[in-house]
Symmetry: C2
Subunit: 329 residues, 2 copies
C-alpha cells in the first residue's frame, strides 16, 4: 500500500502538495494537480486514516451504545443514526453492551483514546456516573432513555403521556380491569410509563391494584409469555393488557392464544414501539409508535453538533397510538 511519500516522489512534488490535492485545496495549479492525480491512480494510493486522524485528532467515528442488537426497536433507531452519520461523513461503531459494565468500558475507552469522537447511548442500564464523567470532556447524547434534570442532552418521547394515551384507549373501550406488563422500574421509562398508566386509571376512577402490575426482567418475547401466564392465573383476571414493549406484548398475545382466549374479545392488548413484526401477528397489534428513525437522525445530528462545539438542547418527539386488531372488538 503506497503512502503519501511515494506519491509525492512519483509525481515529482512535495508531500504537502499531495496533501493539498487529496484535501481539495484550491491553491494547486491545474497542471500539478493532474500530475498528482495520475500518480495516485498509478500507485493505487489511498490516504491512511490513521495518519490523518492522528494529525487531526479526530476519527469521524461515532459510538452507539445499545443493550442488545436483537431488539428491533434499536435497529430502526440505528438506521436513522447511520444515515445521518454517513451524510455528515461520519461512521458509526455499534457497541452492544449486553448491559455488561466491562463491555461498556471498552467503548468509553475508545472515546477517551480518541478512537471515536462521541457517543450516543441508548442503553437504559448504562453506568450513569461513568457516562457523566465522560460527558465532562467528550460529546455524549442520550437517546430514548435519559436522566431527568441531568446535564447530558437527550432526545426521547413523552413516555408518561404515551402510556396515558394507550391506557385511556383501553378504558374508552370499556375495560375496567387493565393489567400493566412493565419492565424493571429501575429504568426511567418504566417509571414514566407506569405513571401514565396510573394517571389514566385515576382519571376514570378505576382502582390501581398491585397484582395487576407485572415486572419483567428483560424485554424478550419469553418475558411477555411469562408475564401473561401469571396474569391469567389471577382470581380477578384483567380484560385488557398494556405492555411497555411490543416484544412483551407479542409474547403475551402468544400466551393468551395458547390459553384458548380470544383477542380482543376476551382480552384487548396494546404494545409499545411499533416494531415491524407487530403488524404480522394474528391479530395485529395496537401499539404506541415511536418515531424511531427520526429519533436516530435527531440524536446523530445533536451529537455531530456537539462535536463541532455547538450547544444543543434536549428534544421531545411526538408519539402516536396506532390502533389495530388487538383492540378492535
Amino acid at each position: 500500500m503506497a503512502n503519501i511519500q511515494q506519491v509525492a516522489q512519483k509525481a515529482g512534488v512535495s508531500v504537502a502538495t499531495v496533501s493539498r490535492v487529496i484535501n481539495h485545496a484550491e491553491s494547486v495549479a491545474p497542471k500539478t494537480r493532474l500530475k498528482v492525480e495520475n500518480a495516485i491512480k498509478v500507485l493505487n494510493y489511498e490516504p491512511s486514516m490513521l495518519g490523518r486522524n492522528l494529525r487531526n485528532s479526530e476519527s469521524r467515528l461515532l459510538i452507539v451504545l445499545i443493550p442488545s442488537i436483537s431488539n428491533p426497536f434499536y435497529t430502526e433507531v440505528i438506521n436513522g443514526i447511520q444515515n445521518t452519520a454517513i451524510a455528515n461523513n461520519y461512521n458509526i461503531l455499534l457497541g452492544e453492551t449486553d448491559s455488561n459494565p466491562q463491555r461498556e468500558n471498552i467503548y468509553f475507552n475508545m472515546i477517551k483514546n480518541k478512537l471515536a469522537d462521541g457517543v450516543i447511548s441508548m442503553d437504559p442500564a448504562v453506568n450513569m456516573k461513568k457516562l457523566n464523567d465522560l460527558a465532562e470532556k467528550h460529546p455524549v447524547i442520550l437517546c430514548s432513555e435519559y436522566v431527568e434534570g441531568g446535564s447530558i442532552p437527550y432526545v426521547t418521547i413523552d413516555n408518561e403521556l404515551a402510556a396515558y394515551h394507550a391506557v385511556k384507549h383501553l378504558i374508552k373501550l370499556g375495560n375496567k380491569k387493565i393489567a400493566l406488563i412493565n419492565s424493571d422500574e429501575k429504568f426511567l421509562y418504566a417509571r414514566q410509563r407506569r405513571r401514565g398508566y396510573e394517571r389514566a386509571l385515576r382519571e376514570f376512577d378505576l382502582p390501581i391494584r398491585e397484582e395487576m402490575i407485572y415486572h419483567t426482567k428483560q424485554l424478550d418475547f419469553q418475558d411477555g409469555v411469562q408475564a401473561m401466564r401469571m396474569l391469567l392465573q389471577l382470581n380477578q383476571k384483567p380484560s385488557a393488557v398494556f405492555a411497555v414493549s411490543d416484544t412483551l406484548a407479542i409474547g403475551a398475545l402468544k400466551e393468551i392464544n395458547a390459553s384458548g382466549l380470544h383477542v380482543p374479545d376476551d382480552m384487548a392488548i396494546v404494545g409499545f414501539d411499533k416494531i415491524s413484526f407487530s403488524n404480522m401477528t394474528n391479530p395485529t397489534l395496537t401499539t404506541v409508535s415511536q418515531p424511531m428513525y427520526k429519533m436516530g437522525c435527531t440524536a446523530a445530528n445533536m451529537l455531530i453538533n456537539r462535536i463541532s462545539g455547538n450547544n444543543v438542547e434536549s428534544i421531545l418527539l411526538d408519539h402516536e397510538l396506532v390502533i389495530r386488531e388487538s383492540t378492535m372488538g
Copy 2:
C-alpha cells in the same frame, strides 16, 4: 487529555519506560513501575489508540458487512462475531450497506486506509469483483453467502441439503403440491435452496411447476405476504409452502390466516433461519435452524487467524430441521 510525554515527565522517567509499563513489559523495576502508575492515575491518562495504531499499523477493528440490520438472522450471527472479537481484543464495526455500492466503498476504503484490519461479508449483494480485489491484499472472510470455487474462505451451511430436508419433510406429510417462496436467484443461496427443493420433488416423482415458484425482491415480511397472495390465486393451489427465510414465511403465514385458511390443515409451511420470532407466531413455525451464533464465532475466528497471517480453510456447518406447529397436522 494527557499524553505519554506528560506522564513521563511527571513520573521522572522516559516515554519508553511509560510505554513499557502500559504494555506490561517485564523489564521495569517495581519501583519505577509504581512511579509511572501513579503518574498515570494522577493525570488520568489513557493511551491514544491513534498513536499506537499508527505505529503498529493495526487498528484491531473488524468490519462486518451486512445488507440490513433489521433482519434478525444477521443479529444473531453478529452476536457470535462480536463475542469472539472481544475475546480476542478486537472490536467490530458494523457496516450496513443496504446493498448500496457507495456504502460498500466506504467500508472497503476503511480497510485500505488501515482503519480496520479485516472484513467479514454477509452481504449477498456485495460487489464480488471489488471484494476479490480487496482480498488480494487484505484479510476477508465470507459468512453465510459465498462464492463457489472462489478464493475467499467462507463459513456457511449446505443450503441445498437443508432445503432438501425441509421439502422432503413436507412430502412425507403427504403434500403433493408444494410451493417455493424464493428470493432473487442472483444469490447463490437462493439457487442452492431451489436445487434442494427440486431434488426432493424429483426424488418422489412430483412435478416441478414454474408457477409454484415465486421470487421475492427482498426478505421482508411484506414480501412474504405478497408472495402468498399470488400463490393463493393459483388455479391449482399448493397444500404446502417452503419459504427460504423465516421473515418470508411469517408474512406468508399472515396472509394465509387472513384468507381464512388454516395452518397446517389447509396449508403447511416451513421457514428458514429459526429467528426468535418464529416461535411467537400462531401457529409456531417449522423452520430450518442455522447455527447462527456459531457461524458468527467461526467467521470471526477465521478472520482473526487470517489477520495473524495463518491460512484458513472454508467450513460447512450443520443445520437442523425444527418441527413445530405449522407442519403438525
